[in-house]
């Protein structure tokens, strides 16, 4: 449903987005993860036809956005970060204005707007947009992104600045949209947020995609070394192990932490058993995706 091919955007010769190639299937909730300034918004801007790419292509439902932007926009909804509406208009008036670009009749538009305002919890709100809270603004933003009943919805940091209740409401809405068969492209700099709502994620750093796939695939891709960490705890003092494949080892009384190129727990177990040592615990210690993400993208855990 969404496809980018070597999408690149340079400002004054500096690449804000560098050869980004992504593929998001129909009905998928895709998480686009990256720190602030990594190129998330610029990438989305190019896909929704807001920013002209320096090179590369992007397609929505096989429509090339730069060649036929209007056709692409008709099947796309976009909730930008820091959304703004006309401050002197009400929620309904703002939505009515945007609905006119889709050729909806007045009756159709009014019906759709009522449904959407009800859906996002703004039904009956008569206040002008200027008096809206952050949460209300985001909800109205979502309503405008859905005004054309799009097949693909882009959300740029949608939960940014929302209170916990607002965050949960947004997660529920995203799940609901996914169940309705909508493709959701969801960007965030918070991993936990993306992990909860998305099955597949792409990680962008300094304008480049550094990992893409399921959370497990991304964790493996982001892990910088191939070494595996094995934690051992025994009864009594642990002797220095001779098992082949150990790269590093640190001993501390009855416990040890082994670094190996592969899972050598069976070999370690045999050696300890042969030495008559009773094993309390023998396990592989894996870094969480968050640790790997922070270490890779931010450079520290």
């Amino acid at each position: 449903m969404i496809r980018t091919e070597n999408l690149t955007k340079a400002y004054n010769g500096v690449k804000a987005v560098d050869s980004v190639s992504l593929k998001v299937e129909k009905g998928e909730v895709f998480g686009f993860l990256g720190p602030n300034g990594s190129g998330k918004t610029t990438t989305i801007g190019m896909i929704v036809g807001l920013i002209e790419p320096t090179s590369g292509k992007c397609f929505i439902n096989d429509v090339e956005v730069t060649r036929d932007p209007l056709r692409a926009k008709k099947i796309t909804g976009y909730l930008p970060d820091g959304i703004g509406f006309y401050p002197t208009l009400t929620a309904k008036q703002n939505l009515k204005y945007f609905s006119k670009f889709y050729g909806l009749s007045d009756e159709e538009a009014d019906k759709r707007i009522e449904e959407l305002l009800d859906y996002v919890g703004l039904k009956g709100v008569q206040t002008h947009f200027g008096g809206f809270s952050r949460g209300m603004k985001q909800r109205l933003g979502l309503a405008q992104a859905l005004i054309n009943d799009p097949q693909v919805i882009f959300m740029d940091e949608p939960t940014n600045g929302l209170d916990p209740q607002g965050v949960v409401q947004f997660r529920n809405i995203i799940s609901d949209l996914s169940k309705k068969g909508k493709t959701v492209f969801f960007s965030s700099h918070i991993l936990s947020e993306v992990q909860i709502v998305c099955k597949n994620i792409g990680v962008i750093s300094k304008g480049k995609i550094i990992a893409e796939g399921t959370t497990e695939e991304v964790r493996r891709m982001l892990q910088k070394d191939d070494l595996m960490t094995i934690s051992i705890s025994v009864q009594g003092t642990i002797p220095e192990l001779k098992t082949a494949g150990i790269v590093e080892a640190s001993y501390n009384g009855s416990s040890a932490v082994i670094r190996a190129r592969s899972d050598i727990r069976d070999e370690i177990s045999s050696e300890l058993y042969g030495s008559g040592i009773k094993i309390h615990e023998l396990k592989v210690v894996e870094k969480s995706l968050e640790e790997v993400f922070l270490n890779t993208v931010y450079g520290s855990v």
Partner: protein
């Protein structure tokens, strides 16, 4: 989805138009201009009435004494023009009208950027050129209606006081209306350009107001600069003549243009124009050319001279706006056509047209290319 055929430009234009109607700033300035229009029309009518009374009185006096030595001497001014009523209006338009156009355009683009609505708007199926075209269409239509309403107000006041315009007057009112629209669109183009090239509304307004002030002072600056460029003025001399109605000779070593007939040219008693020494004429002509070339960059000056030739039925601008008496003189024969009047200020009209085209072109290109992030 049922499809309606409203073009995106029209959707944007209607929104822009409604925004003006809901804008307190716009309504305030328009209200102020409307009040000034009414005051200007009433004071213009009083001046016209007074000039008409003086004319009638002079006419009666002349009928009894005008035949001197068997010749009719033309000493009375022409019939006062009812377009006098529009003179104050033109002055208000040059200041408050220009300010109104700036108010309408200075944040046309910057406001959308600041409020984040431009980004949102462009994610919907609308081309950028439709957005800018729609905005200009909305603002232009509103400006047209504002100007039409002020003109109609003035005409209504004229009719109320029983002043009936003749066909030539109506033609001139039409010409003045078109020229006023041209002037207002010039300032709208300048304001929109400021809006598209400035990072925010505050800077756009500052730049636009600076240009408005610059436009007002350009005639003064150009006068000084042209004098400096033209150098020292030669002595102006009018050869003495036995049958001249003027003094024997007038010289002007200070470079000021002086005439012997209260600001008008001197005439021999047989009605022919007296000649001034050619080197002085060349100097003045050179100086005026420099001054005029500089002045055309000022929309305020351009509108000033255009409204002058139209309102006063002149064949050429009477004076520069700097207050110096110009070398161009008021036509003795006031029956000049509106075409003749407008032809004499063609350069000023073209200058404003160029400003509009360049201003809108710059805005258009800048808006099409701007990165919305």
């Amino acid at each position: 989805m049922a499809s309606t055929s409203t073009r995106p430009e029209i959707i944007v234009a209607v929104k822009e138009f409604k925004d003006y109607l809901n804008s307190k700033r716009f309504l305030f300035v328009f209200g102020f201009l409307a009040i000034l229009t009414i005051i200007g029309a009433i004071t213009g009518f009083i001046d016209y009435n007074s000039a008409l009374t003086t004319y009638n009185s002079n006419l009666q006096s002349i009928n009894s004494t005008a035949n001197i030595a068997g010749r009719m001497v033309r000493m009375v001014e022409d019939v006062p023009s009812m377009l006098t009523i529009f003179q104050s209006y033109s002055t208000y338009i040059a200041s408050v009208g220009a300010f109104l156009a700036i108010c309408m355009g200075f944040d046309m683009i910057t406001r959308e950027k600041e409020e984040g609505t431009l980004k949102l708007l462009l994610t919907h199926p609308v081309f950028r050129d439709s957005v800018i075209n729609g905005k200009l269409l909305g603002a232009g239509t509103m400006l047209l209606l504002v100007m039409a309403s002020t003109f109609l107000m003035t005409i209504a006041i004229m009719l109320f006081f029983g002043v009936m315009p003749g066909s030539d007057d109506l033609t001139r009112i039409g010409a003045l209306f078109l020229m006023t629209i041209l002037f207002m669109f010039t300032w709208l183009a300048i304001a929109v350009t400021c809006s598209t090239i400035s990072p925010n509304s505050a800077i756009a307004l500052t730049v636009a107001l600076f240009l408005l002030m610059l436009s007002a002072v350009v005639p003064d600056i150009s006068s000084t600069v042209s004098s400096a460029i033209a150098g020292t003025a030669p002595e102006m001399m009018i050869p003495a003549s036995a049958n001249s109605t003027s003094s024997s000779s007038v010289s002007d070593s200070g470079g000021n243009r002086m005439f012997t007939n209260g600001g008008g040219p001197s005439f021999e008693s047989n009605g022919t124009r007296m000649t001034i020494n050619p080197d002085y004429q060349a100097y003045v002509s050179n100086r005026n050319n420099i001054e005029n070339i500089m002045n055309v960059i000022s929309p305020t000056y351009n509108y000033g001279v255009i409204s002058q030739v139209v309102n006063e039925k002149l064949s050429a601008p009477r004076s520069s706006t700097s207050g110096n008496v110009g070398f161009y003189q008021q036509s003795v024969d006031q029956s000049v056509s509106v075409i003749t009047s407008l032809s004499s200020v063609l350069l000023n009209i073209l200058a404003m047209l160029v400003m509009i085209i360049v201003g809108f072109a710059v805005s258009y290109v800048k808006f099409i290319r701007v990165d919305v992030r």
